[in-house]
């Protein structure tokens, strides 16, 4: 009994800090609250049938986005805690260990459990509609991808109260992340949760690439596809080639930590630098995985709200192709100071700078798209417009960092922090917010409130710049990243205090956005046409929200912005709508992806605690589900009869 208590209080549950106990209570209350609401309103069956077992790409996309916004909240709280701790010198809000855990989870969550699912959610919602597909190529696999991400996110978040958080940074560099210097369970949670979500992302990459190559509407050639679909295709290719490296690296470090191998420990013949090398072989392409879809969204939004065809369409495509190739030969710029020779550093410095060229081409294309146009300042477009100057600040300081000798000065300073927050927030996060406003009517059938959206936009815009711009200077003054406090005489106090104000402005902006979502659900303008923005691409041809089968009939979609030109041509839209409706074949829902991913969670949890028996139970279950799928699952799908389609279309006012 004493042994059990000792285990629970010393290894299983995290103890010792009031903040942890607060989190315990909050988790318990939230869980009971959710269970109560679901039971009271008798929503269990609805939840299971409509959402947990769905294979519909639109619903999976919405679940991705909801999860991403929740993770943005969690990662944002981490950020605010860090900024509060640093607002004055010598504060005792967080101790060093807790600060280490928080910056580690902030980075990990923001990249892998916020940016990635947000992007994959956007792709799921919009891409199949943009190419006129009924669903993605492998809907069952799509559900597995989502639930892998979801349970991996749960695993990582659990480490906060059970087992202990990872504390070696989101890059988890060896030897720091090895057992010798970092005993305990935290790093295991990092390794296993990234492994599980990584498998899901890899599957998504294959899924989206096949969907785009095989399932386009009649007549739509590759060079007719909307730019967001193009960016999805390129991103999927990068995912397919980059993520296996992460899988291997994580597996090697897991074997090191749990089974006592020495891939990354120099005392037994391993090489700790190899981790940094492998991590960034994946990690740099990952940067383009999170930015290219945002570029795609900006292209769509800018061309729609300036009422013009995207300037330099084919140049945009080729610059993305070039970026995807270059993204695989620049990774050393993340560790110029690790001791590689001048030839290596020069090669990777130059290849890094080269990426600025296609990126610059894209920026000019966006500017030329806006030139001589009648700009509509909707919230979606404001996010896209704000992206340009902010991203340029981040991009140009990135070129500064690419100069290897100068990088010895900037390296690991706040200059670097400022740079990557400028590219990742102004690129990815602004992109996701633009996409959220843009496609919200397509997801839910109503428009997000423009007034509240603008308030949130300005709070973010001011907060973002107030928070991150001073970091360039405090970095040049010598403040290094990952320090949990600093002396009063360092001269960094005022800039740090200003940064904290900016962080809290962004926090308020987030609250306004949440309120905007709740308010718009009740009072938001309903979208009855399916085309609230006078759109140009195919997703605006169907009703909002799109029916299960996406399109009742498919027109010929040859040419860029075909829908736009159809609207100009008298009677073209009516002619397409009056096409003969035929029976549509759709995939069946299945509970297996959900259960299978719970088994992944169980296996991962077992490995974290080094309970090998539990890991084997989980893995055996996963194998069983794979066998069931290959041998005993006919998966014939179902047919939607013509009269049901006609009724749905009539109710949407389209017949």
């Amino acid at each position: 009994m004493d042994q059990l208590m000792h285990f629970l209080t010393h290894k299983f549950f995290v103890t010792g800090e009031p903040m942890i106990y607060g989190a315990d209570v909050a988790i318990a209350v939230a869980t009971i609250g959710i269970l109560f609401v679901l039971t009271y309103f008798k929503k269990w069956k609805w939840l299971w049938r409509e959402w947990l077992t769905t294979v519909d790409h639109k619903k999976i996309g919405i679940m991705y986005i909801i999860a991403a916004i929740l993770m943005l909240f969690r990662g944002g709280i981490d950020g605010l805690l860090m900024r509060s701790q640093l607002s004055f010198p010598g504060l005792k809000l967080l101790d060093a260990q807790h600060y280490n855990e928080i910056f580690t989870t902030h980075g990990t969550i923001m990249i892998l459990f916020m940016a990635m699912p947000f992007i994959i959610g956007m792709i799921n919602v919009a891409m199949p509609l943009q190419i006129g597909a009924r669903d993605v190529a492998f809907p069952y696999l799509n559900a597995i991808s989502f639930w892998l991400f979801f349970w991996a996110a749960m695993l990582l978040n659990l480490s906060f109260v059970i087992g202990g958080s990872p504390d070696a940074g989101w890059t988890s560099y060896t030897p720091l992340a090895e057992n010798g210097l970092d005993p305990g369970l935290g790093e295991n949670f990092y390794l296993l949760s990234l492994q599980i979500t990584g498998i899901g992302t890899l599957a998504s990459g294959v899924n989206f690439a096949v969907t785009i190559l095989k399932m386009r509407a009649p007549g739509m050639k590759l060079m007719h596809m909307p730019m967001f679909t193009w960016s999805t295709l390129i991103t999927s290719v990068i995912i397919v080639f980059a993520f296996p490296v992460l899988t291997v690296a994580l597996a090697m470090l897991t074997i090191d930590r749990i089974f006592g191998a020495h891939f990354f420990t120099s005392t037994a013949g391993g090489d700790p630098m190899m981790w940094a090398n492998l991590f960034w072989v994946w990690g740099h392409p990952e940067v383009y995985i999170v930015i290219l879809p945002a570029f795609g969204i900006f292209s769509e939004v800018m061309s729609t709200f300036s009422g013009k065809r995207l300037f330099g369409y084919s140049m945009m495509v080729w610059s993305m192709v070039l970026i995807s190739a270059l993204s695989f030969i620049v990774w050393v710029h993340h560790f110029f100071t690790m001791g590689a020779g001048p030839a290596v550093n020069s090669f990777f410095g130059v290849s890094t700078m080269l990426i600025a060229i296609p990126t610059g081409v894209k920026l000019f294309n966006w500017l030329f798209t806006l030139r001589h146009s009648k700009i509509r300042f909707t919230v979606a477009h404001m996010w896209a417009l704000a992206f340009i100057p902010n991203f340029v600040i981040g991009g140009l300081t990135g070129v500064m960092l690419a100069v290897a000798p100068a990088d010895y000065q900037y390296h690991n300073s706040y200059f670097l922090i400022a740079h990557f927050h400028y590219v990742l927030i102004a690129g990815t996060v602004f992109g996701m917010f633009a996409g959220l406003h843009y496609w919200w009517p397509k997801m839910f059938g109503h428009i997000l409130d423009e007034k509240l959206g603008k308030i949130a936009f300005w709070l973010w815009m001011v907060g973002f710049n107030v928070c991150f711009f001073p970091m360039y200077f405090v970095g040049l003054q010598g403040m290094t990243r990952r320090m949990y406090t600093y002396p009063a005489n360092a001269g960094w106090t005022s800039l740090n205090f200003i940064e904290t104000i900016g962080a809290f402005l962004m926090g308020i902006g987030f609250i306004v956005m949440v309120w905007m979502i709740i308010y718009s659900a009740r009072h938001g303008e309903r979208d009855v046409t399916g085309d609230p923005w006078d759109g140009r691409t195919m997703e605006w041809m169907t009703s909002s929200p799109a029916p299960e089968y996406n399109f009742a009939t498919l027109p010929d979609m040859s040419g860029i912005d075909r829908f736009w030109y159809m609207k100009q041509e008298k009677g073209a839209v009516e002619k397409w709508r009056k096409q003969k409706i035929e029976e549509i074949h759709m995939p069946d829902n299945s509970g297996r992806p959900f259960i299978m991913c719970v088994l992944f969670f169980i296996a991962g949890f077992g490995l974290c605690f080094e309970w090998i028996w539990l890991a084997i139970v989980g893995l055996a279950g996963i194998l069983l589900f794979m066998v069931l799928r290959s041998l005993f699952d006919p998966d014939e799908g179902h047919h939607i009869p013509v009269d049901v389609i006609e009724r749905t279309e009539r109710e949407a006012g389209r017949l």
């Binding site: 095989k214 386009r216 509407a217 009649p218 290719v237 090398n277 190739a325 695989f328 074949h585």
Partner: protein, 104 residues
């Protein structure tokens, strides 16, 4: 290419022999690599050479048995395979360059 499939069909055309053979070959090649490293007391260089040869065989097994290389789908496939080789060479040769020769 421009066919719009309503949903993917899971029907196999006959028993997937090539997958099974590919799987067994992969296992054999992997175990052989392990055996060479653990049981044969060769020099580090010859161990490496043998493992790399086995790895190249493994690549061909994967490409032929699982990656539909024999189906000849045209430009996409050629582009994808060449990009794959580009990435593989960049990662492997690049890593060797960075980790070994870059230090001096």
């Amino acid at each position: 290419m421009e066919k719009n499939q309503t949903a993917h069909s899971n029907s196999h055309h006959g028993f997937p022999w090539s997958h099974v053979i590919g799987f067994i070959l992969s296992l054999v090649l992997t175990v052989a690599a392990l055996w060479i490293a653990l049981s044969l007391n060769l020099s580090a260089t010859s161990t490496m050479v043998l493992i790399i040869i086995l790895a190249i065989f493994q690549v061909f097994v994967q490409l032929l048995m699982f990656m539909h290389l024999r189906e000849q789908e045209g430009a996409f496939q050629i582009t994808a395979i060449s990009f794959g080789f580009f990435v593989a060479i960049a990662v492997v040769a690049g890593s060797i360059w960075i980790m070994e020769y870059g230090l001096y």
